[in-house]
Structure formats: C-alpha cells, structure tokens
Symmetry: C2
Amino acid sequence: MKLCELGEKEIVRRLASFLDIGDDAAYIAHGKGFLLMSTDMMYEETHILPGMSYEQVGRFIVSVNASDIAAMGARPIAFLLACGNPPGMEYSDYEAMIRAADGQCRLYGMKFAGGDTKQAGKLTLSGFCVGYAEKPVLRSTAKPGDLVAVTGCLGDASLGADILLKGLTHPKAGPAIKKALEPSARVDAGLALGRYATAMTDISDSLAISLHDIAKMSGVAVKLYSEKIPLSDSSVRVARGLGLDIMDYALYGGADYELLFSVRPEDFGKVGSKVDATVIGEVSFGCGVSCVAGKKEHVLENRGFEHFKKPAQKLNKRG
Amino acid sequence: MKLCELGEKEIVRRLASFLDIGDDAAYIAHGKGFLLMSTDMMYEETHILPGMSYEQVGRFIVSVNASDIAAMGARPIAFLLACGNPPGMEYSDYEAMIRAADGQCRLYGMKFAGGDTKQAGKLTLSGFCVGYAEKPVLRSTAKPGDLVAVTGCLGDASLGADILLKGLTHPKAGPAIKKALEPSARVDAGLALGRYATAMTDISDSLAISLHDIAKMSGVAVKLYSEKIPLSDSSVRVARGLGLDIMDYALYGGADYELLFSVRPEDFGKVGSKVDATVIGEVSFGCGVSCVAGKKEHVLENRGFEHFKKPAQKLNKRG
C-alpha cells in the first residue's frame, strides 16, 4: 500500500500502534515537570502560498511549531530550524528568512537556538520547538459536562489562502490574506488556558478534524453549535462578495492556529477574563461529533486539509 | 551572492554574526543543568548512499543527531523525526524506517517521541534530538597544554562510502561499508568524556575541519601527529588493495561520527579506562592546525565534505 493511498491520518494511526504519539507535541517527564517537543515541516512545493515573502516563510515556520507547544498549555523555550535550500537561493533571502524566524521566536519569548543548513532541490524547512509545562494539557482528557470553546475567529486563514491560490481579488481581503501568510501562535492564551483547559489542541488541519480528535481520544461525544462559531465580520463580507461560504472555511479550512479546548463550566469564566474565547459546543457521554445548525443536527464530517491523500494539493485547498 | 558560491561554513559564519551558534548542539540553561538540542537533515538526493536500506536510513538519521548530543558530553533523552515522503513510497518501507529509528533510539537510551509526516518530491528526513547535561562540553574551551585525542578508528566510513559511490569492490570492504551505512553515535563515550574533556566535537565533516573548529573557537594552536591517527587494519588493507590512500580518508573524509576532544594530560588516564581513545596531538598557544608526519610539519588544510560548495555532490565524495 502506498502512502498516497493511505493519507496522513491513517499513516499516523498505524504508527500509533507501536509509537507513543497522538498529541500536538511529544512530552517526557523532566525535573519537576515535562519537556514538550514539536516538529513541523514546510515545503516550497506544497506549503508556501503565492506571494509569500521569505520573511513570512521564516515567521510561519516558527509560529506553526510554537502553536503545537501552546496547544499543550506549555511555554515555548527554544526553536531550531533545519533548512534545505536550493543552491541558487540568494544569501540575502536566506538571511532575511532566518532573521524573521529569530524575531518571531523573540515575540514568543523563546530562543532561536540554531539548526542545520543543507542543500536541497526545493526549499524545505523543518522547525523544532521545545517547551516546558508543569503539566501538559492533552487531547485525551475532555470530560462529559465540559464546555467546548475556541480562541479568536475561525475561517480567516483558509479563506485568505484560497483567495491567493485561486487568484481572486476583493478590496477587503487584506486581513484574511494576512492571517494566511502570517498566522500567530496563541502562546499567551495557551499558557493561560494551561491551568483550566481539560483538553486542548490547535486548529491546524480544520475545526472538524480537531473536534473529532478530541472526541475520539477522550472517548466522548462532542456537540458543536455551528451558529456559535466566531467569525470575523470582514471575512463574512469578503466570502459573501466572492460567492464563497465562510462556514465551509471555518469548519473544514484549517490553518487558523487558534486553540480548541474543553473546560469545566465553572472554570470558563476564569478563562474568559484572560483569553478571547467563545463557547461553541459541549462534551457528553458517547462518541462522535455532531453539528447543530438551527433546529437540525447532523454528524460533522471528519475532513480538512490532509497530506498524502491527494498528490500535489496545495495548502488549505479543501477536499 | 548565491548560497552555492558561499558554502556551508561561510553561511554558518555569517549567521553566527547575529545568532548564538557554533557548537555541535544548541544549549540553554534549564533547571540545574542544560538542555541540549540538535538537528540534522538527510536528503535522498545527496545523503543516501547506494544500497542503503530503509532500516539503515532510519538508524542513520537517529545516530547522526544523537552524535551531536554525545559530542557535548550530554545524555540524549528524546528524538523527533520530521519526514517528507514521496507519495508513491510503500507504507511497509516507511514503517520499516520508523521502526528502525525507534530501535536505534532505544539503543541510545532515549525516547522516539514522534514527529511530523508530510508529502515531498524526494525522501527528506529531519531529525531532532534533545539531551541533558549538567555542564555541556563546548568546542571553544581547549587550553594550551591539553592533549588532543579521538575515539575509535578514523577513515573507515568515508572509505566505505567512496567504495559504494564509485562502485568499487574488495573482498574485505565489509566493515568499512558497514560503518558508512550504519554509523554509531558514541553516546557512552560522550557521557564518560563529559567529566574530563576540556573541548569536544564529533567528526562528521572531517578530522581536519573538526581540528580547525576547535583551534579557531578556542583561540589555540593544535599540532596533529598524523602517524598517531588510529586506523583499522582492515581499512588500511582495503585502501591499499584499491590503490587509495587511507590517510586521505582519515584526515578529510568525515562521517566517522567518532569524538574528537581535548583533555588535560593528568586526566587522560582516567578517560582511557572508560573509553577507547587515542592521543593524536596537542594544544599550544597560537593559532591554526599543523600536521606532523615523520620529521615534516605542514599546515593542515581545512577541508572535508561541505554542503553547497559543489552542487549535486555526494556524501563523503571528497573535494
């Protein structure tokens, strides 16, 4: 069986039968707490959006890795970058990318600690982030009765990416495009949520996939109220203007790098004062993820952006 | 200026003007000691030797990363692997590679903690290793009066690689080829040396480059007695039989992943009982690296395998 016939999720599921994997970041006990480690790759061919600058590439690879640490309620402390660069790449572009990555690390309070530089046919970046938490927040510990909430607004980044990939134009598309090109890791929110969230993950693939991950790994059912999903006014308008459905992006688009978490109802108020979070659903006994829209309830499809399933697909091009 | 016009060493030298880099692994203070972090990439096009199996690829990426941690006198504790895989790769090959990497991690006493799986045109592996040391051993702390020593034998791996790359045959070439395809990280030696070595690095690029690195970063002169370089009998014979010069491999070939270290003369005896090490030189006031062969002394060329300098060069194909 070839990897492209299996898809990323099935590959990871098979690996999980003999490896201890499944959360946003790996963790091991160290000292009085836990070390968290994450790695995320970017390829010129499949991950770099049209018009992305080298500075944006540098910031992007730091943010997506820091997001995995934030999603465990941990503090990122150091970042390494392994770069495969085409031999014809200009040094000035390379330095601009590294300086931007270094700056983004400082923004998240961690050290750009070095890396590796090799020659490759196409630009290839592997980021590696180390963090620390007294107690990491897992995906597998949501409890019936918990609320399900999300930080920020959803759908902006994948709408922006789709606009870039399809070559669309809209006078108000700037903020969505910016979120696609320059996502932020919710480091401060992750740290604040670390004390209260019962389970957590970042939304890198899609809200749907992240909800299914938490439901499956926690052995619970999740009900999503789609009308409660926080959307930005500007993306709602841009999508409408372009004849696109913003809900499709919010549910299945991914790349927002917001945090999805479960929390006990009595703790949500404590979270709310520190983090811009919105309750979008609830956890109950059972399994699976359902989506309530108005008076209708249906099973939420477990789909989003996934590697391997479709050769040569582009970031956030929805299936 | 393009990266291929600069070469890896010059690129790293330029980055070092604004980043804190220069040792085998990055380190940051954590708890009562230091966290060590290393990353090393492998590409199908430039790093995978003819005839290398997927299992060997899996072990290789773990060993070269663990070697960087060992070279700091630290204990490797966790490993992550970011894989870019061609979509047409067989899952069974992929799983064999991951299982072999997991097994090699256990051999070094560390946890295979997970990673990332993405689609790429060519097989691309980025390994990340985290270690811990009470006090890491740097390259920059050799002192005049120290002895210079090396673990194991040198030249085997690059001789073996060259035999594979040139398609040569020799009935006794097995051990050299095995060292090229399956290098070991000197984890136990690194830990034992951590208490005594005044400076240390692994020999990944070449002995010559590693000696120059220690001399330059420590602000000292190093004298190498080339006749003292430990060589394996079998590689000496194989090289002679093929009309090749084993000293050329030992000095400039690299890929042995042995440890090069400086140590105070009164401490070498303590090291010797725990580690298979050979004194090959000495540190003095001054700068640069000289090589004494018989009664002749000459400046040792600072060369070996270096990325970027020559597009499409192969692993260990000497310049």
